[in-house]
Symmetry: C2
Subunit: 330 residues, 2 copies
């Protein structure tokens, strides 16, 4: 049962999702890096390593939570998802584990390494439409014509519950003795943030959750500050995991209600964060995976003396983009 | 007790090392990547993710196994190690966990990110000498002048036993049902390979272990084929983790006795392997960490139909080197 009028899921939903997905993926590490801390003096960072999920992003939690919740009739007819990659990889991974056919609709010109990975995990890939929101339309067509179940990347309670298992895991890894003051979450559709808010409300009520979005794709950020949904014409960022152009009905209310703040970071700030994370931790993160660190650096004054959780939420950076980042063309 | 005249350690030594280090590090994943498999048709790869150790390399096993074996008097006097980085990071991590002072001698011009990480983990860093073997001389001086215990990166039974815990972990992760035909190990001093041979001899006697070294630093490879120790004047490779110029007394006999084959890979082959691993798995590996894949690709014909284990043994690639690799300057 929802715990407030704005919460689309409850802690029980998250606990149930964790029960369903636990046999398919191991907990990811929660780590400190003295070398990374040195880059933001006065702030103590805890890194949640979702980049180490088998598909390279936290979205495998969402995909598994979605597919494991389907009836056997639904599983037989298969699943269709629209995605720029990570949501689709999560579905593809889940489909392979559970024997469920998965079709993924991606926008034209999508990250080629993500497309290759989708196919390698056994998904059928349909490349059509100008951006993520257009790919959603293509997926909807398949639902109507082929009877497949749409696995929306955000507007799906099982997705939100799956995403919440990450924060549940952080809570348990910290234990009773360890505190966490702030958790910074990159927001595309908002599944990870709503999952975090749901878990924090009950288990860590003092935890402040801050959202971050790309300055070139600020629809949810702008809406949050305006207190009403806004859309943007374009989503212009190399962080394709958060390149959305609108809010989502299932998450926006909870974000409005629960986030302590919502900031944006520029492409240059994200690129610099990718470089710093690489050179200090030697972990490759994609743009969305670097945004927590970029935001923490931006908010360094306000976060002085605090213990701040950041999420390396994905690793699936295209090599061509990485090359541009290392050459300081981004 | 050694199990043959050429084996410096026994399986019991490995089991004892695992017992000592188990509370400090978690097992690393053993994974398949359909995208990586596609790069070597006909060969099924299993990746052991030592790049995900807290210090970014398998050497944390060796450091922990060494420091936990010291007496309290030795711990109080502190440890000194010579290293191009990863062995030192392992010692520094162990020293921080156990409250033991650690001094690390690195060659002049050593990978700056490894130096920064050594200091961030609390080690004192002394940068002196032209290469790894010269840094060993500097460390020896500190042993004599300050009474510190030398933690040699190879000639130390605790190091070898610690390194062996990796193969023990692979054995257990595979379980009784799963087979592994071949394990490819990058060799600098040979700790990881001798550890693997020790574990395999008892627990997986059919497992073939193949060594790989850089063509520009082939001392152990050349010695293995000559059946007697050879030294080289230089160790010319960007894979500094395996940039040795000689064999080591404690490991050479076991390598001679146990390895099924020993090959070299060129700098270009390693650079290409780093790029392929990045673009298919989105894991950053340093040169030594890419050599298993490079060797598997080189030996593809011979490995057809086989299940081959490769080790992403380290992640600590300097960003400047990575940039050159992505720009195809290496």
């Amino acid at each position: 049962m929802p715990e407030s009028s704005t919460s689309p899921i409850s802690l029980d939903d998250v606990l149930a999702a964790r029960e369903r997905i636990a046999s398919f993926i191991d907990p990811t590490p929660l780590r400190r890096y003295p070398t990374l801390d040195a880059a933001i003096p006065g702030v103590s960072l805890l890194v949640k390593h979702e980049n180490l999920q088998p598909t390279g992003s936290f979205k495998v939690r969402n995909g598994l939570a979605t597919v494991t919740a389907l009836s056997s009739a639904e599983r037989a007819r298969g699943v269709v998802g629209a995605t720029t990659g990570n949501h689709g990889l999560g579905l593809a991974f889940a489909g392979r584990q559970l024997g469920v056919p998965v079709t993924i609709c991606v926008p034209t010109g999508n990250n080629p390494e993500k497309n290759a990975a989708l196919r390698a995990w056994g998904a059928t890939v349909i490349e059509e439409g100008a951006d993520y929101d257009a790919a959603v339309g293509v997926a909807q067509r398949l639902v109507e014509s082929e009877g497949r179940t749409l696995a929306h990347s955000t507007n799906n309670v099982n997705v939100l519950a799956g995403a919440g298992t990450m924060t549940l895991e952080i809570h348990e890894q910290l234990g009773d003795a360890e505190s966490l003051d702030t958790l910074i979450i990159a927001i595309g559709g908002g599944s990870q943030a709503v999952g975090a808010l749901t878990v924090a409300r009950t288990l860590r009520p003092d935890l402040e959750v801050i959202g971050v979005q790309a300055a070139g794709a600020p629809a949810v950020h702008d809406s949050w500050h305006a207190r009403e949904p806004r859309t943007t014409e374009r989503a212009s960022t190399f962080s394709e995991g958060v390149a959305t152009r609108s809010t989502y009905p299932l998450t926006f209310g909870a974000l409005l209600d629960g986030l302590a703040d919502f900031v944006t970071v520029t492409e240059a700030e994200v690129a610099d964060a990718v470089r710093t994370i690489l050179s200090t931790t030697h972990h490759l993160v994609e743009g969305a995976g670097a945004m927590g660190f970029a935001a923490a650096r931006k908010l360094a004054l306000r976060l002085q003396g605090k213990r701040v959780g950041i999420i390396f939420c994905g690793a699936n950076m295209d090599t061509a983009v990485l090359r541009r980042i290392l050459n300081r063309e981004l």
